[in-house]
């Protein structure tokens, strides 16, 4: 006997993500899901970004790591409200699922926030698959990685709404071909906007910060 099912395996996560989306809309907060491989400079980019946004754009951050609260400590120095999620002390999960975001978001004063940024676990594979109820996804690639990362991890670059190419201050010292990297991103995602910047020297930060301000003003709805 065959039983027809036709059910999405990630339906439970998608239902939870929809619940988050309603909560964020009700509180009037724009939510950005920030993803990359480990070491691309997400936290440094955020620290510099928050210093330019706050206090004009009141921002909160949920930061996910398998362990330690090092990132939360760094981010808190900017004055932003920060919640650290640790998925496990030894090992743990490879992505932040929607229910973890809900649990953290409910500990924050969402109504007081204009913008909530979720710094996902460093991983170019799994976070791409899990909707958390965000308004937009940004992927960060740094010039110390390979130009072909977008071709190796197509789903991540396919689902991203915008991309950042970070650490451009290092370009003179590397063989990295920035044009090829951007071309590869656009092969996987035609029309993708890419912000080339250096979180360290803050070169190229302004267009990215402006994009955030515009998105918050429009609230993405």
């Amino acid at each position: 006997m065959e039983i027809n099912i036709q059910k999405r395996v990630l339906e439970a996560n998608e239902t939870m993500a929809d619940k988050n989306r309603r909560l964020f809309k009700e509180k009037g907060v724009f939510v950005l899901n920030m993803m990359s491989s480990p070491g691309s400079g997400k936290t440094e980019t955020l620290c510099k970004t928050l210093r330019r946004l706050m206090p004009e754009v009141v921002t909160g951050v949920i930061v996910g790591d398998i362990c330690t609260r090092n990132d939360a400590d760094r981010l808190e120095t900017t004055g932003a409200a920060v919640v650290q999620i640790n998925t496990d002390e030894f090992g743990g999960d490879c992505h932040l699922a929607a229910h973890l975001i809900e649990k953290s978001a409910l500990t924050m004063d969402l109504a007081a926030l204009d913008l909530l940024i979720v710094e996902n676990i460093g991983n170019l594979v799994c976070p791409a698959e899990f909707d958390i109820g965000e308004n937009a996804k940004v992927v960060v690639l740094s010039v110390t990685e390979g130009e072909d990362k977008p071709l190796k991890y197509p789903l991540m670059f396919q689902v991203a709404d915008i991309a950042i190419l970070n650490k451009i201050d290092l370009l003179p010292y590397l063989d990295f071909d920035a044009k090829e990297a951007v071309d590869n991103m656009k092969k996987v995602h035609p029309g993708l906007s890419v912000f080339e910047l250096s979180a360290k020297t803050e070169e190229g930060m302004e267009p990215w910060v402006q994009w955030l301000k515009d998105s918050v003003a429009k609230k993405g709805y």
Partner: protein, 115 residues
């Protein structure tokens, strides 16, 4: 990397679909649809399924995976094509933004019970 969680979800979806009044049901085959772009490794999924289906009525069931190709449509010229080599540039007009029509599926399609 999250295949164990996926396997767990699959099993609970399958268990829910089996009528409660069936005496001693035994699943022979579980049919899945997995898109080529889904972040799932087939061998890992089979391995995880084998482990956590133990002591359930899915123990020993065959996992049959139908792979769904990646298909896209150009928003500019409306051309539809099957994407290969992860290049999503429209082969017809080479400039439009595109929408992905298939390739991200991760679905339990059906299950087959032993008579």
């Amino acid at each position: 990397m999250h295949e164990m969680g996926i396997a767990q979800q699959m099993i609970s979806i399958a268990l829910e679909a089996i009528p409660k009044d069936l005496p001693d049901p035994r699943v022979e085959r579980l049919n899945l649809r997995v898109g080529r772009m889904a972040a799932v490794v087939e061998d890992s999924l089979k391995f995880c399924f084998e482990i956590i289906s133990k002591d359930t009525c899915l123990e020993g069931a065959e996992l049959v995976i139908e792979t769904v190709p990646v298909k896209a449509r150009c928003r500019q010229c409306h051309h539809e094509w099957e994407v290969s080599d992860v290049v999503f540039t429209c082969p017809s007009c080479e400039k439009g933004e595109i929408e992905v029509l298939s390739g991200r599926e991760l679905e339990v399609a059906s299950l087959e019970l032993a008579d």
